[in-house]
């Protein structure tokens, strides 16, 4: 099994002097190919910072981060953009679909930045939408779709460039319990096909559906590979 994410002694410090905030402190974390992992923790625990660094949207202050074998800590902004485009698929709580584009066009967007030919874009976008069960809604605008459907479009967009890592930030935060189940089953299906999935969530029932829970607290990994029964107790603490 190869490592998709490897954090070695990662720290992230915001500000300096008296106003210094240590968001991450000497974190070591490894996620292997094919894992289905959730990151939890109270607000201010550093889970969002970890998420941003994993997603190459932010750089660590110190430490070494290898994504799929590449040391990304020292890459330029332009190179990071390419890494985000090719290796990572993002899913957000607020979906972030572009309102003026159809479902199909939204899914095609990452391939625009990958400079793929128009025909291939269309074929692959249609394929990805079919995979998330929206083969019949391809020409709908986001405002013509339900929340669950919009999140499925966003997932299709995230996987269309065949990333090594699917990174979801509170993907069910804006959904009701029924659609949460729907979306989680899609993540499970995608994971079953071999895609590595990492999601940040604050819902224990969502985390319970994943295979591994990483618990952050005060900028450090407090627990890793927690048993589902411990999860219940910890959420009470927060």
């Amino acid at each position: 099994m190869k490592d998709i994410i490897r954090f070695q002694d990662i720290s992230k410090i915001y500000g300096s002097g008296n106003t210094e905030v240590r968001a991450l402190s000497h974190v070591n974390l490894t996620v292997q190919e094919g894992e289905y992992c959730s990151i939890m923790g109270p607000s201010g625990s550093g889970k969002s910072t970890a998420m941003n660094i994993i997603g190459c949207l932010d750089r660590p202050t110190s430490g070494r981060y290898e994504l799929d074998g590449t040391d990304v800590a020292q890459l330029s902004d332009a190179d990071l953009a390419i890494i985000r485009n090719r290796k990572i698929g993002f899913v957000f709580q607020q979906f972030h679909l572009l309102a003026q584009l159809s479902a199909l066009e939204n899914v095609m967007l990452p391939m625009v930045y990958a400079s793929l030919p128009q025909r291939e874009r269309q074929e692959r976008a249609a394929e990805a939408l079919t995979k998330v069960g929206l083969g019949n809604r391809m020409n709908n605008r986001p405002n013509q779709l339900s929340g669950g459907q919009q999140q499925r479009v966003a997932i299709a967009r995230a996987i269309v460039n065949q990333p090594v890592l699917l990174l979801a930030d509170e993907p069910t935060g804006a959904l009701d319990s029924h659609t949460t189940q729907e979306v989680m089953s899609i993540f499970a299906e995608l994971n079953a096909t071999g895609i590595t999935v990492v999601m940040v969530t604050h819902e224990p029932e969502v985390a319970r559906l994943t295979q591994r829970v990483v618990w952050f607290r005060d900028g450090e990994v407090m627990h890793d590979h927690m048993a589902p029964e411990d999860l219940g107790q910890l959420t009470v603490v927060t």
């Binding site: 949207l57 985000r84 972030h96 003026q100 967007l109």
Partner: protein
């Protein structure tokens, strides 16, 4: 990196999605461009109109008027008059001159039957038609014999002929000027107005007749006239003719210091008018250019608002792999399209304005190709220039912050 065509497609899509806003943003540029095109077009039209007017005076014409160049328009002192003899001297002694037409001008009431009108009467010699490019429509013009014998004949401009003899042919009819009766011997072809002055309601009589029978002007030096029109041999001899006439008249009038007359070249007048209208055009174009600049600032304004409004979109684009360069390009293209499209629409509107001006006024205003090219290029440039600030702001957005702003 996304290729240019792709960025353009995205920009067009965004602009089309906000049609009203895009249209309003372009408005400033549209108005700016329309005014540049119209102003320059009308300015050119005015210049051509003035040029055409001077052409209509006749080719290679010089005018000799009494009074020194320095005293023109600023003295009440009566300058020494020009005389018929002066004009004859010019005709016989200046080699670069083709023909000379002395003119005596007066305002008189003209009566024909029970109709009367106040009109300009000009005393002329046969050379008048040659020098000033007039054509006879019916009958004949004044001859040398008429001038020698002082016959009481008159040639009418077409408008005057129509108002005095509305229902019959004027040829052979009699009219009275200051109780002196004249026989109408001809009618001229229509010539049109010169700088707003109708040239077609003038009556022409032999110079000698007008002087002896009507005005009675005499001067110690001979038969006084109002001014002399001279046609030079050709365009090249204009300057020489001007110089020779000046010398001859100085000799004849025994002038040692300041000239008592002015030789006017129609080219000078043309140049003056060209300078005036040119300056006017530049000024109008500058004002219009300022409105173009304001339009550009309007684009920058709206683009800045748009960047703020589309923060999440920009954040998402960056998260899924857009580089700073991609975002920069997209916003620059949006601004440029707005400006260039506004430029094109403004050009059309300006051309419409010019057509309106041509239809409603005698100015033959034309759409200046240079103005169109300059206006559209300048608009595009303005879009690029004023697009930089918002586009840079968009490109520099931190995707984490951008995505979290809700």
């Amino acid at each position: 990196m996304v290729d240019f065509a792709e960025s353009t497609k995205m920009a067009v899509k965004t602009l089309a999605a906000n049609r009203l806003r895009s249209a309003l943003t372009m408005l400033g540029i549209i108005i700016g461009n329309a005014s540049v095109i119209t102003m320059v077009g009308v300015g050119e039209g005015a210049r051509e109109y003035a040029a055409g007017q001077f052409e209509s005076l006749g080719p290679n014409v010089l005018f000799i008027i009494p009074g020194s160049p320095a005293s023109q328009n600023r003295t009440l002192e009566r300058p020494r008059a020009l005389t018929f003899e002066d004009s004859e001297a010019i005709a016989t002694q200046v080699p670069t001159v083709d023909s000379v037409a002395p003119q005596l001008v007066t305002q008189q009431t003209v009566v024909a039957g029970n109709l009367n009108t106040n009109s300009t009467i000009t005393g002329v010699t046969p050379e008048f038609t040659t020098v000033r490019s007039f054509e006879v429509d019916a009958g004949r013009f004044i001859t040398d014999e008429d001038v020698e014998r002082g016959t009481r004949v008159v040639v009418l401009g077409p408008d005057l002929a129509d108002s005095l003899f509305p229902s019959e042919s004027p040829i052979g009819q009699t009219l009275r000027i200051r109780n002196v009766s004249f026989e109408v011997i001809g009618v001229l072809e229509a010539k049109g107005a010169f700088l707003g002055d109708n040239q077609d309601d003038i009556a022409y009589t032999p110079l000698t007749t007008l002087s002896s029978q009507i005005t009675g002007n005499t001067s110690p030096y001979g038969l006084e006239i109002s001014f002399i029109s001279v046609m030079a041999r050709d365009e090249q001899s204009m300057t020489a003719a001007q110089f020779q006439i000046q010398n001859l008249l100085r000799l004849r009038h025994r002038i040692v210091d300041e000239d008592s007359f002015t030789v006017r070249n129609q080219k000078d007048a043309l140049e003056l008018i060209g300078n005036v209208t040119g300056a006017l055009t530049v000024m109008l174009a500058a004002i219009a250019g300022i409105s173009l600049l304001v339009g550009g600032i309007g684009i920058m304004n709206i683009m800045l608002v748009s960047v703020r409004e589309r923060t999440q979109e920009i954040g998402l684009r960056k998260a899924i792999g857009a580089s700073e360069q991609d975002i920069l390009t997209q916003f620059m293209i949006e601004a440029t399209i707005l400006a260039a499209l506004g430029g094109a629409v403004g050009t059309l509107a300006g051309s419409g304005g010019i057509m309106l001006v041509s239809a409603l006024t005698p100015l033959a205003a034309g759409v200046s190709t240079t103005a169109v090219i300059v206006a559209v290029c300048v608009s595009g440039g303005i879009g690029l220039f004023f697009g930089v600030v918002p586009a840079r702001q968009a490109a520099k957005l931190d995707p984490i912050v951008a995505l979290r702003s809700a």
